[in-house]
Amino acid sequence: MAVLELTDISKHFGAIQAVNGVSLSIERGEAVGLMGDNGAGKSTLVKMIAGNFLPSSGTIRIDGKEVTLHKPVEARRHGIEIVHQDLALCDNLTAAANVFLGRERRRRIGPVSVLDHAGMAKRAGELFRDLKSETRPRDLIRQMSGGQRQAVAIARTMLADAKLVLMDEPTAAISVRQVAEVLNHINHLKAQGISVVLISHRMPDVFEVTDRIIVLRRGRKVADKRTENSSPEEITGLITGAIETV
């Protein structure tokens, strides 16, 4: 059964048709690249999955159950986590604090319940280890490299039992070495049975980690094929419209 299944999803803003009748499904542990030019509808589609927008029509199913996602919190409750393009980290807090932001662990001391700093640092450290990242839980985000920041943002998605992680341009603004780190993170997520949707403009990254590539053009899905059966040239053609559809 598919972790996520979209059926005939459309979204229009007034007269503008941003997404038009898109259907797709994502299996457990599968990494799918979502590609398309600016304005192709990638962001709108992802925002509907993440609970930022309600679709104008069509249905979203998670584990076979139809859901209506009014708010990001509801998507999260269904096991959908997002790594935002700008990572959504607080520079002035530690890595552990950022991983647990909004979901702090607490422990009771007599009548009061206080933050469990030690417990959160320990869990965050385990997550960083699982991601094979050298990020240290008690370091401030301000002092971290781009790759370490990515690890923090990704570790956040692993706190709960995520089924699906949406990554919006995670490799857009970081160094080559850090890109390799992020791609590693994605492989670790897959290895744990977590599905990943990777939104990216960087063709080599998408070809390296994804199992399948979906191409959007002007709000419509124009391709959905196994990565090994495609080529960067073909995908480029599909994105630009040089190749009509496959």
Binding site: R76, D86, C90, N92, A97, L101, G102, V114, A124, R136
Partner: protein, 328 residues
């Protein structure tokens, strides 16, 4: 990789010592202590128990409000209304008790007014997106005007049947420590605890660090913001009630210009006006430095008109110090 997981988890970028040495609060504390030592030798009157009693008590009014202000500043906001709110709350407790109500009703009414004022500021800022500077500037004007309306711009010095209780509350002392100092210490410990050990405190820092990120991760940003403005107004209200008890009279120019002194205390103590940084201890230390400057100028026979220059100079030095530290 030879570093074990436990090492990595335990690792902090700075050791306890280096963290202390790079903290602005520490250096300001050092300046306070150095000034105290210097003044003890340079003047006969500084290290007398009477003068120290006075200094510690005078610090409290600024320090208590600086605690509330620090919360606001950590979220990246500012509260210019605290001086006027102090006056309004003083006037409410004074007028209520003058009308014959007991001290509990007087204090209750005063704190209720503080909560309403803070909630008004907070709701406009958090839910309607007004700039904190503008909203609280408006409240600065409104609150003082209401205090004038309430008292018909007279001096209130008769506090009804519980007159003596109110005076004891603010003017008394326990174990040789002025009551206001005890309140200040309790409130500082409470603020420090909240900032370090509660989810609320964590969210206050998160909002100041990256408000958008806080919102995306599910932090109730609006509610927290309203809460910090309410706490700021409450701190001004508490300071106002204590000050009323200490002075034994309320005039409508009480707390005029105090907002600047409070903000100065918070900033000298290490709070960053860009948000995300600040501590309860810093608020106390900053307030202490300002009071010692004030006190020492008098004792050293320097014209009191220089006071503003010294305090202003310290604000700039403290911030310059912080910038140099950041760059390193």
């Amino acid at each position: 990789m030879t570093v074990s997981l436990d090492d990595a988890i335990a690792h902090k970028e700075h050791t306890a010592l280096s963290r202390v040495l790079t903290s602005q609060t520490f250096w300001v504390l050092l300046a306070v202590l150095a000034a105290c030592v210097f003044l003890s030798f340079a003047t006969d009157s500084f290290a007398t128990s009477k003068n120290l009693f006075n200094i510690t008590r005078n610090v409290t009014f600024t320090a208590i409000i600086a605690l509330g202000m620090t919360l606001v500043i950590i979220t990246g906001g500012i509260d210019l209304s605290v001086g006027s709110v102090l006056c309004l709350c003083s006037m409410v407790v004074a007028v209520t008790m003058h009308a014959g109500y007991n001290i509990y009703i007087g204090i209750g009414a005063s704190l209720l007014v503080a909560v309403i004022v803070g909630a008004f500021n907070g709701v406009l800022i958090a839910y309607f997106g007004f700039p904190p500077f503008v909203v609280t500037l408006g409240m600065l004007s409104i609150a003082r005007s209401l205090a004038m309306v309430l008292s018909n711009n007279t001096v209130v010095f008769q506090f009804g049947p519980d007159h003596d209780k109110l005076l004891a509350l603010g003017g008394g002392s326990m174990f040789g420590i002025a009551n206001p100092v005890i309140y200040m210490i309790v409130l500082a410990l409470l603020t420090g605890f909240v900032l370090r050990w509660t989810r609320f405190g964590r969210y206050v820092y998160a909002i100041g660090g990256n408000e958008k990120a806080a919102r995306l991760t599910g932090v109730p940003v609006e509610m927290i913001k309203v809460a910090v403005y309410v706490l700021s107004a409450l701190s001004a209200g508490v300071a106002g009630i204590i000050q009323t008890g200490w002075l034994g009279a309320v005039t409508t120019n009480l707390g005029t210009g105090m907002e600047l002194q409070v903000i100065a205390a918070a900033v000298i103590g290490g709070a960053n006006l860009e948000g995300g940084v600040g501590t309860a201890l810093g608020a106390l230390v900053g307030a202490a430095l300002i009071e010692i400057i004030r006190n020492s100028l008098g004792l050293l026979g320097i014209n009191a008109f220089w006071q503003g220059t010294f305090i202003g100079g310290f604000i700039i030095v403290a911030v310059a110090f912080d910038r140099i530290r950041q760059r390193r």
